[in-house]
Symmetry: D4
Subunit: 146 residues, 8 copies
C-alpha cells in the first residue's frame, strides 16, 4: 500500500524538498505530489495560454482555473494532504485546500509555528496531526509506513 | 422550494443583518443560517463547557470542535454558502469554509473588496458569484427566487 | 410522496404552462420548478448585478454562473427532469441539463418532434420516456401519481 | 500520477490526432481515450449486433446504448473531459457529455470558436478552461504535467 | 421520525391491504408506498401514452421505463423495502427490486413461504428480516415504531 | 434548522431522560431518538416475531437484525450521535455505533468517566466533544441551538 | 483502459467459456470475473467452513454470505455486469445481481431467449444491451474495445 | 482481482501471522494489511513525534489521531475487514473499526469464541462470516480466491 501525499501551501521555503529527500532516503512507500510551485508560472498561466485580459480579476480567474485542473486530480487522489502555513501572506488558498481536503475525507496534516495557533484553530481542529516542522511530517510518514 | 443560505466569514460588520432584513422585506423563500457570531462565546465555549486547559492549543481545539458540530449541520445542509472576507485578520476559517463548501457541491458566493482579488483568486475561481457588497447578494437571492 | 419536476429547455412556447395547468387541474402531487425563463433577464443578470463587461464572454460567464445557482438547487433536488428540445436554436444548455440530470440519477423525460430523433439519440437512450407533446408528460405524471 | 483525458465531441476534423501526437512528442503522463469516432460504425452498431429495426428510433436507441457502455467506462474514469464543438451539426451529444462530466466532478475543458460563445455560455461557465484550438489544450496538459 | 416503506413484489393477494389496515389501526408512523399494482395498467402504460409498438419487446420496454420513474422515486426514498415472493410466476422484478434496495442501503424485509428458502437464499442473506406473513411485517413495524 | 440527535449506548441509568427533560425545558430545536432501550424486548424480539431458535447465536442474530432496521433509520438520519459508555458490560454495540456514526459523517459526542480514557482513545479521537455528564451534552446543544 | 466484466447468472451451460475463449482469441482488454460456479461447493461452503446447521435456512444463510464476500468485490469492481437467464430454475439470484448492478451504476448486459421478454421486462429496461447469445456479448466487447 | 484484507483487533496472539503464512503458502491473491500492532509504539507515537502532554487524555488523543491516518488509508482501501475479539480487554477500538467497516460497505468477517456471542450480537449481525479461528478465515479466503 502506497500513500499519495499532496503537499499544499507555503512555497517560499524548501520544506517540500526536505520531505522529498527524507522519503527517498528512508525509501518510504509514499508518492509526493504538489501544485505548481513556480509562483510566476502559476500566476501567468491563464493569460499565457488562453490570451491576456484587461482586468486583473479575469487574468487571475483563468490562471486559477487551470491550476484547479491539477489540484482536482492530485488533491482528489491523495490519501493525505499536508498544508504548511508560513509567517507571511494571506495564504487563503492553503486554508481553502485544507477545507476541500477535509470535506473529501482526506487525512489532514498541518505545519505551522505556534504563533498561528489561534487563527488556525478551525483548521487544526480537523487535522489528524498538527506539526511545526517538515521533519515531524517525515516521522509520521515513517511511522505509518512501517 | 426554499434556499438554505449559510453566511460564513467576517463577523465585525453588520452584513448579515443587511441580508436578513432584505430577505424579510422582500419575503424571499430563503432560510439564513450562520455560525455563532459572538466572538468571545465562540472562543470560550470549549473550556466553558468541557473544562479549562493550560495550553491555548487545547482550549482552542475544544472550542473549535464544538463549533464544528454546528457548522457540520448548517453548512452541510445549505444550498448556498456566502463567505465574506473583510480587510483585517487572517480569516483562514472563512477560506476553510469556502473549501468545504466547494468540495460538498454547494453554490459558493464570495463578498470582498477588489483589493483582495489576487490573494483570493483560487476561492473566487470556484465561486458562482464574486460580489463586493451584501446588497449584491440580496439581488442575486431575489433573482433566483423569482 | 410528492414529485419535484424540473422543466428544462425550450422557452419560446407555452409548454410549461400546459403542464402547470394540467397538474393543477388534476390536483397531482407534483411540484414544478424551472429555470428563469425570461430570456433577457437571464442574459443580463450578470452585468446587471455584478457590473458590466467589455467582452461578451465574461458578461455571459457572470450571467450563466448566477443562473447555475438556481439550477444547482432546483435540478439538484428534482426527482424528474423534463427537457424539451424545440425546432430552433442550438439548445446546448438543454442537452447539458439532460447530461447533468442523468449523471445525478434523475429520471429523465424528453419532449421533441420525431425529426430530431437522430441527433438526440444519445439523450433519448438515457431517458425513461421520450414524448412528443407536453400532454404526454402530463399523462405520465398522472399515471405515476395514482 | 497519470491524467486520463476523455476527448469528446466533434469527429470531422483531426483535433484528436493533434493532441495525441503532441502528448507523445512531449512524453506527457496522459492517457487519451475517446468514443468510437467512426461515424457509420457508431450509428450501425445496434442493428449490426442485436438485429435490425423497422423504426429508426429503436435502431438509434440500440446503437446509442452500446456506445454508452464505452462512455460509462471511459468518461467515468477520466480526470479531464475535453469537449470540442464544431461549426456544424447539432452536437447535442457533446453538450450531453459535458453535462455528465460536470455532474461527475470531472475537470471540463471546452474547445470552440468565439462565434459559439453565446449558445455555449452555460457549458463554458462550468469549464475550467475555454480554448479555441487543440494546441491550447496541449499547452494546458504540458503545464499541469510538469 | 416516520418510516417510508416500499411494498414490492407479488400483486395477486391482499398482503398490502393487510399491512395498510394494521398501520392505520395501530396508528404507526409509517408511510406505505407501492408500485402501480394494477397489472394491466402497468403492462399497457407505454403503448397507451407513447403509442403502440409492433414488437412486444418495445411495448414492454416503454411500459417498464415509465414504471421505473415511479420506482426510482418511491423505492429511492424508502427507508425499508418489503418484498413478497408468491408461489407463482417468475417474479424477477421482485428480486431485481430487492437487489436495488440492498445496493442503495435500504433495510430489506422479505416475505415468502419456507418452500422458497433455497432459491431465495442470496436475497434472504441480505435481508434484515425474513418473514412468512404480512402480520409478521406489521409486528416488526410496531416494534421499531415504539 | 432542527438537529436530530441519536442517543446510543448505556441503558441502565437515566441519562437519556435528563437530556430529554432539558431539551424540553429549554425548548431546543432538537429531536431526540434512541434505540429500543427495553433490554429484554430488544433481546427477545427476533424469536418473538420470527420464531424461536435452538442456538443462541441465531436467536441473537434475528433480534439484532430487527434492531438494525431501527438503527439504520434513526442513526442514519441523525445529525449528531451521542454515545454513552458506562462502567459495566462490554458495550461493543456502543463502540460499533460510534464507528458507524463517524464513517457516515455524523458529529460524534461521547460521554464517559475519565477512567475510561485510555481504552476509548480511538473513539474519543474522532469525537467532536468528549464529555463526562449528560448535563454537558445539554450545554453543547444549547450552545449550538442559539 | 481495461474493462472488468462480471459474468452472473445461469451456471449449467458453457456460455462463460465461450466468452472467455473469444476474449483470449481476440486479445481484448477485458478481465472476466464470475461467482463460484461449482454449484455444490457454493451450496456447501457455509457448513463446510463454519460448521453444520440443523435448519436448511441457516445452512443456506451461511453459504450465501460467504459467497457475498466474493460478489461484493467482483461485482463491486466491475465496469460491466452480464447476466444470463436460462430456461430453467427460478434464478432470483441473477435478477438480484442485476438489481445491484444497476443501482451501483454498472453497465448491464442481459442474455436470454425471446420467450423470457415479458417476465424480464423490468430488468431489460435498465440494460444497455439485451442479447440472446454469448456471441453477441463478444461482439459488443470487441466493438467497445476497438 | 486481488483482495485487500485489513486485520483489525486483538494484538496479543499470533493470529495475524497464521493468516499471513497460509496466504503465502497457498499463494492467494490477497494483500494483508494491519494497524501498527506494536502496543507501546502505538501508544507513544503522539508524544514521541509531536511532544509530550501533561494530561493522559491529550497524549492518547495525539497518538490515536496519528494511528487514524494509517487506518483511514488501509481500512478505507480494504475489500474485507477481519476483526478478532480476544478474551481480555475492552477492545472498543475493534468494535469501532467494525462499525466503520460496515458503514463503508466493506465485507466484515469476525473472529471470536462462542462465549462472546451475546455481547457481540450487533457486530455479528452485520458480518458476512462469524468464525472462531484464523484457520476458518484462511478457508474463506481460499474459497473466494478460487
Amino acid at each position: 500500500m502506497n500513500y499519495i501525499v499532496y503537499l499544499s501551501g507555503e512555497i517560499h521555503t524548501d520544506w517540500r524538498d526536505k520531505i522529498k529527500d527524507a522519503v527517498k532516503e528512508h525509501n518510504l512507500s509514499v508518492t509526493l505530489v504538489s501544485p505548481v510551485t513556480d509562483h510566476e508560472a502559476s500566476d501567468e498561466v491563464g493569460s499565457q495560454i488562453l490570451g491576456g485580459e484587461d482586468k486583473p480579476f479575469w487574468k487571475d480567474h483563468k490562471a486559477s482555473k487551470i491550476n484547479a485542473i491539477r489540484t482536482n486530480k492530485l488533491l482528489g487522489n491523495a490519501d493525505i494532504v499536508v498544508v504548511r502555513f508560513g509567517e507571511k501572506y494571506k495564504q487563503w488558498n492553503a486554508a481553502f485546500d485544507a477545507g476541500q481536503a477535509v470535506a473529501l475525507g482526506k487525512s489532514l496534516i498541518v505545519i505551522h509555528s505556534p504563533e498561528l495557533t489561534h487563527p488556525l484553530k478551525e483548521v487544526d481542529a480537523q487535522a489528524l496531526a498538527v506539526t511545526e516542522t517538515p521533519e515531524q511530517v517525515v516521522e509520521i510518514l515513517q511511522y505509518i509506513c512501517q
